[in-house]
């Protein structure tokens, strides 16, 4: 890409970002996120908009699977090595320690925990989600590399469970992010979780776990739902 195109791209990105900031609620922008001017070492003044310069402002693209024998082979590899993000979003995460310990050893199935979203491709939504957590969950989910899978635990993620009338927890998860496997129960036993992983493996091997592409396809709808309940939307529309 030549210098000229780069400049054009930068300028249009900046314009778009400012437009976005105009649309979004100014009141919720934290002080460290406000548009400010920074003096570069060479003395030139750069306009910095943290919410949009530090992230890619692009929409998610739909990545078509290769198909054929190659995809089958890769799917086998993906299914046999599932890296779970270590983020206990709800009370269901009390059953994660038994999973990595001698009683129910999930390493046997090639399921491992990873500390950072960049390296994990499965996300356990362990139970109810308050709106405050949903914001972080969306951000984390968008940072995970595709193909990515979501396991939703408990009845809370299906229809709100016993918190159906709570002002703080969402009712159904699939309105905000696509879910691959639901594991019912309050809370699901470790055996149920293992069975959920086996089920997820089947889906991956059959090439049916393409929810990341679905998220990209219905991006606007999901975003609309998310912005409806997240009142202080002080982050980019899509951050990876």
């Amino acid at each position: 890409m030549s210098e000229l195109d780069l400049n054009d791209k930068m300028s249009e990105m900046l314009a778009k970002s400012e437009a976005n900031v105009e649309n979004s609620e100014k009141t919720f922008v934290r002080p460290e996120d406000e548009i400010r001017e920074v003096v570069a070492p060479d003395g030139s003044i750069i306009k910095v908009n943290p919410l949009y310069d530090y992230f890619s402002g692009e929409r998610p693209q739909e990545e078509k699977p290769r198909g054929g024998i190659v995809e089958k082979f890769l799917n086998w590899a993906r299914a046999e090595s599932i890296w779970v993000l270590g983020f206990g979003t709800g009370c269901g995460s009390i059953e994660i320690p038994p999973l990595v310990t001698p009683r129910f050893d999930m390493f046997r199935y090639g399921v491992q925990m990873r500390p950072t979203p960049r390296q994990s491709n499965a996300f356990i939504i362990s139970g109810y989600l308050s709106v405050k957590t949903l914001k972080r969950v969306i951000r984390t989910y968008e940072q995970m590399p595709s193909p990515k899978y979501i396991l939703a635990l408990g009845s809370c993620t299906i229809n709100g469970g016993m918190y159906y009338d709570s002002y703080s927890t969402i009712n159904r998860l699939d309105k905000y992010i696509p879910v691959d496997v639901y594991i019912a129960g309050c809370m699901p036993r470790p055996e149920a979780l293992l069975h959920g992983f086996v089920k997820l493996k089947q889906l991956i091997k059959e090439g049916k776990a393409e929810k990341a592409n679905e998220y990209a396809r219905n991006f606007d709808e999901y975003k609309a739902n998310q912005k409806k309940i997240i009142k202080d939307w002080n982050m980019p529309d899509y951050n990876w």
Partner: protein, 305 residues
């Protein structure tokens, strides 16, 4: 022997080392799992992880250095391999001596730092605060490890009057009593202690401390680059073990011997790591500046007069 044959043999050797490194990693994790009473991962897991990482669809970028970091690390591993006589065959430029020459020990020491520096560049470009912390810890500890290691290696160089790994291995042939382990015990002790830091298991695994700084320099890496780093790590682990094997434990005359010795050397660090918590960075540096440093100085004094 022609350069092409040498290249071919080096490539074959590299493949052997890579796969052995992965298998060794899986075995160590299985041993750890057995200590905890688990089955642990299956043996084929590292290859599957590598495939999975390569087959990741999304690839993010943070700039040029972000790409080059893992490449540097891989280069460090391959560099050590290329100038390391892995198998002793009695012939200075025999089959598996790769491109070893008279001064390769210094080059190998340099390549050890090379990968770390590459990671520093990549992690810096990645821009995650935890990767910056991790790489800062890594470089600081590496400096602390290098000190006793270099002293001990200098002592060995003085002892055999050479900087060529091949010559050092050659001088240790003919019986276990010729090993540096027995002929130069202080240097051997210093090397065995600094091995713990170089192989980077607990208590010296500060670079990747999940419950402190996520996973350190690799926090922002994903997909193919993570696969690069994993294979580089596999090669580096074996090559470090081979270096210590050549320096202290009399080298190897066959692949079987290499595999057994490198396994035992690597197991030593895992064995220590199982029962010891993690140091803080200042504690770890102080530890290396105490006993191993003193041993290194003793080793120097022993052979310089």
């Amino acid at each position: 022997m022609s350069i092409y044959a040498k290249l071919a043999y080096s490539f074959i050797g590299l493949m052997i080392v890579l796969n052995w490194g992965m298998l060794m990693g899986a075995t160590m994790r299985k041993i750890g799992a057995r200590m905890a009473g688990r089955h642990g991962i299956p043996f084929k897991q590292p290859w599957l992880n590598l495939l999975k990482n390569i087959s990741t669809r999304t690839i993010i970028t943070h700039g040029v250095m972000y790409y080059i970091g893992p490449v540097f690390r891989l280069t460090g591993g391959i560099g050590i391999f290329l100038f390391m006589p892995v198998i002793f065959t009695g012939d200075p430029n025999g089959l598996w001596t790769n491109f070893s020459f008279s001064g390769d020990l210094i080059l190998i020491l340099y390549f050890q730092v090379f990968g770390m520096l590459g990671m520093a560049l990549g992690a810096g470009e990645g821009g995650h605060p935890y990767s910056a912390m991790g790489i800062a810890r890594g470089l600081a500890q590496h400096a602390a490890v290098e000190l006793p290691l270099t002293l001990a290696i200098l002592s060995i160089a003085i002892q055999y009057d050479t900087f060529s790994v091949y010559k050092i291995v050659e001088a240790q042939q003919g019986g276990i009593m010729n090993w540096v382990l027995f002929t130069n015990p202080f240097a051997a002790a210093a090397i065995i202690l600094s091995m713990l830091g170089a192989l980077g298991h607990s208590p010296f695994n500060l670079v990747k401390a999940p419950n402190e700084i996520l996973i350190g320099p690799a926090t922002e890496y994903e997909g193919t680059y993570l696969g690069f780093m994993m294979s580089a790590g596999a090669i580096l682990h074996v090559m470090e073990a081979v270096l210590f094997m050549n320096l202290v434990f009399g080298g190897a005359t066959s692949w079987i011997e290499l595999i057994v010795k490198s396994f035992l050397i690597y197991f030593w660090s895992v064995f220590v790591g199982m029962v010891f918590p993690r140091f803080k960075i200042e504690q770890s540096i102080t530890w290396f500046f105490k006993v191993p440093f003193a041993l290194g100085v003793l080793a120097i004094l022993m052979y310089s007069f």
